[in-house]
């Protein structure tokens, strides 16, 4: 599998503040890559450097297999689409007119406008001025602008910002379909892991400008797997069974609750079977998912190698 984005030792330093440090980002072709980190982690700065909107202090960017520089930047970016921070649009013009401007600048036939309006479900509102659009509609227009010309790569910076739950759901399914419907690789950022985990297959976790983790989503899930909350009718018996199976146990916040360390699915199923056999009366087993911050801590504590 070839990589559609590769950065090497990418840094951006503002005065004494390092916004991005030694970033080696690798986005394989055909993937939906989630770029996750809290606000101010360096996601937008990285994406802007990928698009050449800001110059890196150090390091290189390779997009679509070509090292990007000032000379070839625009020709490379003709095969990409982007939505950075908030959607761009002229409020006094209609969606159709906004897309015509982008199509002309991208040197894309205007007939492509119908296709992208169809994809983002804005076809019937095409003649309405963008100033009268809701935020969700503007976000979808931003996606439509990015999709013009069937780009090989889409760079979307927090595209669900400010959307209501229905809008988030709609945007999510739209993005998830991109590789199959448009053949595009997607790099999408968010500060919420939960928002992306349903649509991405690879993730990069960034904090304080440093890439803490990069790899398949399953690998990250191992880190995000938290403690297990066990609720039983007979906690004393359950405790004996667990200790006999060398499982460390802590007290929960009610007498019937015990807290077990993170376990993978198969050992957990076996443990529940044994508890049931021994008459511990298992009432409930709940996995406690770690927050993104806890994952960061976990990644840092374990000194995880960035893969």
């Amino acid at each position: 599998m070839t990589n559609i984005i590769e950065t090497h030792d990418l840094c951006k330093i503002y005065g004494s503040h390092a916004a991005v440090e030694h970033l080696d980002l690798v986005v394989p072709q055909g993937s939906v890559y989630g770029f996750i980190g809290p606000n101010g982690a360096g996601k937008s700065t990285t994406m802007k450097m990928l698009l050449g909107l800001i110059h890196p202090t150090q390091g290189t960017v390779q997009l679509l297999g070509q090292p990007m520089n000032d000379r070839n930047r625009l020709s490379i970016l003709r095969h990409t689409g982007s939505l950075i921070e908030s959607p761009a649009g002229y409020a006094h013009l209609t969606a159709q007119e906004n897309l015509q401007i982008v199509a002309d600048l991208k040197q894309v036939p205007r007939k492509d406008i119908d296709r992208v309006l169809e994809i983002v479900h804005l076809r019937e509102y095409r003649r309405r001025k963008v100033g009268q659009y809701s935020l969700g509609m503007r976000q979808r227009l931003g996606i439509a602008q990015a999709l013009l010309g069937s780009p090989e790569l889409l760079i979307l910076d927090e595209p669900t910002n400010g959307l209501d739950p229905a809008g988030i759901q709609e945007m999510r399914s739209l993005i998830a379909e991109m590789p199959s419907s448009c053949g595009a690789t997607v790099l999408i950022s968010s500060h919420l892991l939960s928002e992306l985990e349903m649509i991405v297959d690879r993730v990069g976790v960034i904090n304080n400008g440093r890439l803490l983790f990069q790899g398949p989503l399953d690998q990250l899930r191992r880190h995000s797997r938290g403690d297990i909350l066990l609720e039983t009718l007979d906690p004393d018996r359950a405790r004996q069974v667990l200790l006999a199976n060398r499982v460390r146990v802590r007290d929960g916040n009610s007498p019937q609750c015990l807290i077990l360390p993170a376990l993978t699915d198969a050992p957990l199923a076996e443990l529940v079977r044994r508890l049931a056999d021994q008459g511990a009366g298992v009432v409930g087993v709940t996995r406690r998912t770690k927050t993104l911050e806890e994952i960061f801590l976990s990644l840092t504590e374990h000194g995880e190698e960035v893969g």
Binding site: L51, L53, K106
Partner: protein, 248 residues
């Protein structure tokens, strides 16, 4: 060409054309309202017009150019479009397209003003023959000073997101420019907003006893025109640099 065409498309429904026509119309209507009526005055009608138009320009054009320049850039500020445009076109091409559109609007304003001169003369019945050379000089000077003020306002619009700043400077410039028009000549050279007046091709001697105004053709002030062009070019370079360095 495609970037200029995109700029034209952006101007759609922004009413730039009515604003440009309006700026010229204000000056023309003002000039028409203050046109001479007596036979003596009609005999120097064009000279009087060539004398008063630069003063009117000094009042109207700084605000007019600020309005045109800020509208052209404000569309990008309000639409947060720079981060999209800079992935589609070079920053220099965006600058060039906006300058081309701005200068076309400036040309339209000057052309309308030029066209209005003989029409006003015919309408008011001026008996003096029109001096085409002086009219061309007036239009050329107006275009250059307008261009300089356009770049100044454009620079302010790029640097300060709130477009009131450019308009406020335009208003203040108009007042200072008008004030400078009636100050000693050396002082008027210090106020670029009012350069219309020292570049005027016609001067006036006013006899307060007889209350007779005598118009005369002034030597064309080429060094000041050259200075205006150099100032405009310097401001244009600053605008280009501001767009090149614009944070998105």
């Amino acid at each position: 060409m495609k970037v200029f065409w995109a700029e034209i498309q952006k101007a759609h429904r922004r009413h730039d054309l009515p604003v440009a026509v309006g700026v010229a119309l204000i000056v023309v209507l003002w000039a028409s309202a203050s046109s001479p009526t007596t036979a003596d005055e009609l005999a120097t009608g064009y000279s009087g017009l060539l004398y008063t138009l630069p003063i009117m320009n000094a009042v109207v054009m700084p605000v007019g150019m600020a309005a045109l320049a800020s509208r052209i850039w404000d569309a990008e500020t309000k639409g947060q479009t720079c981060k999209l445009l800079f992935t589609l076109q070079s920053r220099d091409s965006l600058f060039a397209a906006k300058v081309a559109l701005g200068m076309l609007e400036n040309l339209l304003v000057c052309a309308l003003e030029c066209l209005a001169l003989p029409l006003l003369g015919a309408f008011r019945g001026f008996t003096e023959s029109v001096n085409a050379g002086l009219c061309v000089w007036l239009v050329l000077c107006t275009f250059c000073v307008n261009g300089m003020l356009y770049f100044l306002s454009f620079l302010l619009s790029i640097r300060v997101e709130n477009q009131v700043a450019a308009l406020a400077v335009g208003f203040c410039g108009a007042l200072i420019g008008l004030f400078a028009a009636f100050m000693p000549r050396w002082f008027s050279y210090l106020v670029p907003f009012g350069y219309y007046v020292p570049l005027s091709p016609v001067g006036m001697n006013w006899d307060s006893d007889t209350r007779i105004a005598e118009f005369f053709v002034r030597p064309l002030c080429l060094p000041l025109l050259a200075g205006t062009v150099i100032l405009a070019a310097a401001l244009a370079l600053l605008c280009r640099r501001a767009i090149r360095n614009k944070e998105v």
